[in-house]
Amino acid sequence: MASLSIDHVVKNFGNVEVIKDVSLKVKDGEFVVLVGPSGCGKSTLLRLIAGLEDVTKGDIFVGDENVTRRSPAQRRIAMVFQSYALYPHMSVRKNLAFGLENLRMDRKEINDRVSRAADMLGLEKLLDRRPKALSGGQRQRVAIGRAIVREPSMFLFDEPLSNLDAKLRVQTRGEIIKLHRQLKSTMVYVTHDQVEAMTMADRIVVMHDGIMEQVGTPLELFDTPANLFVAGFIGSPKMNFFDATVTSTSGGTVTADTTGLGEIALPIPSDSVKDGEKLVIGVRPSHTEVGEGPFRLTVEYQESLGTETFIYGRLAGVEELITLHVQHHYETDSGVELSFNLPAERLHVFRASDENRIPTTTAMQKGASQ
């Protein structure tokens, strides 16, 4: 087991800079998830850690050892691929043993390790089958098993669940979390699915356009997103955004004229903004209160999930659809006008100029009390 340190790493493909000066420290035994939209550079960063791509600039350390110029094998890491990358002409047993045979390990030790991994992942009965005779979930477990037998210092996962169906994905997610607790290994996991990131990670790294937008625990990212991108990316359905202009900062209260909502008070210190400054106000659907309140939404359609309901509609003068959330089944119809409230303490405020978050007074109080 080992920690991981990425120090000012840059990666260019030709003239295109896909990783732009990224630095990250992963503690020993930590489960870190790299998340971001397609093309954000998360898989490239993982491949740089694995040694499958050469770093253009910067250093990568596993433990105290600089492994930047080391081959993948010398880094003592194991990787689980999106496509599983099992050797199709070998049995499951041979797939598990292949890497150990490369190390010229004693046959008895190889057999022991293979049986232990097979036992841990429930693969005992499948050991003599070829990958093509396995289901997607079983193949995934073999791929994980191939990583486990090597007893690596670190596990890398490249979107390992994206080829599984929804039910199996939830199940395998649970198995990987269990595995992490059991092995207590350092794990770096890449996904584009923010639900996977939120449920699995000790810490999440949100990536966008080759840079790290924010690093934090799932709740930190959810409660205090550092900028508009993170706010929009984390949370499902997506956060609602409203354009606003500061109208007053006097008397210790900031008010802003907000498109579709009118004049509202914002939970930010009055010295953090100037009169007339352009802002973006964000509020998560789950933090809206449907039923009473000063705001009106014209319903377009709704999604009833049985235990909860998402209502999509428009505010007067706002182009974008707004999402409201009700914690139970809620009957409404398109064209109906709904009243709703946005609790001031649940508002997120971002500067329109640089899209960065302005710390709210509620968050600051929370921070102070911690």
Partner: protein, 328 residues
């Protein structure tokens, strides 16, 4: 434009309605379930006339004797032709056989097939591996290696004969660097060497292409998984590349063997009729000469040799396919 379109539409409709009439009639007579046979008929006729009928005739000729070409004039002689081919005191010594020329050709062909197949496999595989690795100019080199395949075998034979002639290009190069002239085509070793070498040069592009397609179909992440597993290069080749390439290699092996056993035109032209002596007389040349180029035209004997060659090829192909299936 719309007028042209509507005119075309009417024309197509008219054509369809004309074709419909006989097909409706046929369907009424033979029933809908047998209609697929009607559509397959043109192909079946072509295959029947140009493939199955000649095979049938060949087998028939093999059991008849005499020198007449018209079947009705040929007496049925049972297995006599085969007995004549296979009466041998010692199969490894052609001159102890009744039909010694046949066995010399068989021996030459066996050696030619063994050396050409192994040489061609090695050369094509190495070329494909190199082409798979390079990123720049892959298309160019692929075209360069494939180009000879487009040539006629006779042209290949003639061009190389000119190269290897006593006063040819190669000998003038040898003289330029101060060496003795070699009369390649009068030397048993050199003539055989060049027959095999030219065959490999001539056809390697085709097999390289098949192997290259196989190499490029191996997913890159399997190699990456092997790299993370710390697999040494040689082990990657023997334990991953070769097994995953096996289906393509079997195709190459089967095609290569069939074509090698059938070697004739380029070797015949290059060696000026299978020389020196009988050093490069192969099975197809024997069949050709027995049937068409000797004073007494023994069609039956030549057909028997063809049948024997076909049966051996069939058996070898089945063995290879069986092995490939087992390897999967």
């Amino acid at each position: 434009m719309t007028q042209v379109k509507s005119l075309l539409g009417t024309l197509v409709g008219w054509l369809v309605s004309i074709i419909e009439i006989p097909f409706n009639l046929i369907e009424r007579v033979i029933g809908g379930r047998r209609m697929p046979w009607v559509f397959m008929l043109p192909n079946l006729v072509i295959f029947g006339v140009f493939t199955f009928l000649p095979i049938g005739l060949l087998v028939f000729y093999a059991f008849t004797g005499g020198t007449e070409i018209v079947l009705t004039d040929r007496p049925f002689i049972g297995l006599d032709n085969f007995t004549r081919l296979f009466s041998c005191e010692n199969f490894l010594s052609p001159y102890s056989c009744r039909e010694s020329m046949f066995w010399i050709a068989v021996q030459n062909t066996v050696w030619y097939v063994l050396l050409t197949v192994s040489g061609m496999l090695a050369v094509s595989l190495i070329t494909a591996l190199v082409l798979d690795k390079i990123t720049k100019g892959r298309g160019f080199f692929r075209a360069v290696f494939f180009y000879p395949v487009l040539l006629s075998p006779v042209v290949v034979g003639l061009v190389w004969r000119w190269f290897l002639d006593t006063n040819g290009l190669l000998n003038s190069l040898l003289v330029d660097i101060g060496m003795e002239r070699i009369i390649f085509m009068l030397d048993v070793f050199w003539s055989r060497f060049w027959v095999i070498g030219v065959s490999i040069w001539f056809q390697m592009g085709f097999y390289t292409l098949i192997i290259l397609a196989g190499l490029q179909a191996i997913p890159r992440d399997i190699y990456e998984a092997a790299a993370i597993d710390g697999t040494p290069r040689w082990r990657v080749f023997t334990n991953i590349t070769l097994p995953m390439l096996m289906p393509n290699l079997v195709v190459v092996l089967v095609l290569l063997m069939i074509r090698s056993v059938q070697v004739f035109d380029e070797a015949y032209v290059l060696t000026n009729g299978g020389g020196p002596g009988t050093a490069n007389t192969f099975l197809v040349q024997y069949i050709y000469e027995t049937a068409f180029a000797s004073d007494i035209r023994l069609y039956g004997l030549a057909s028997a040799a063809s049948v024997a060659m076909g049966v051996v090829l069939l058996i070898l192909t089945l063995i290879q396919l069986g092995l490939a299936k087992k390897a999967e």
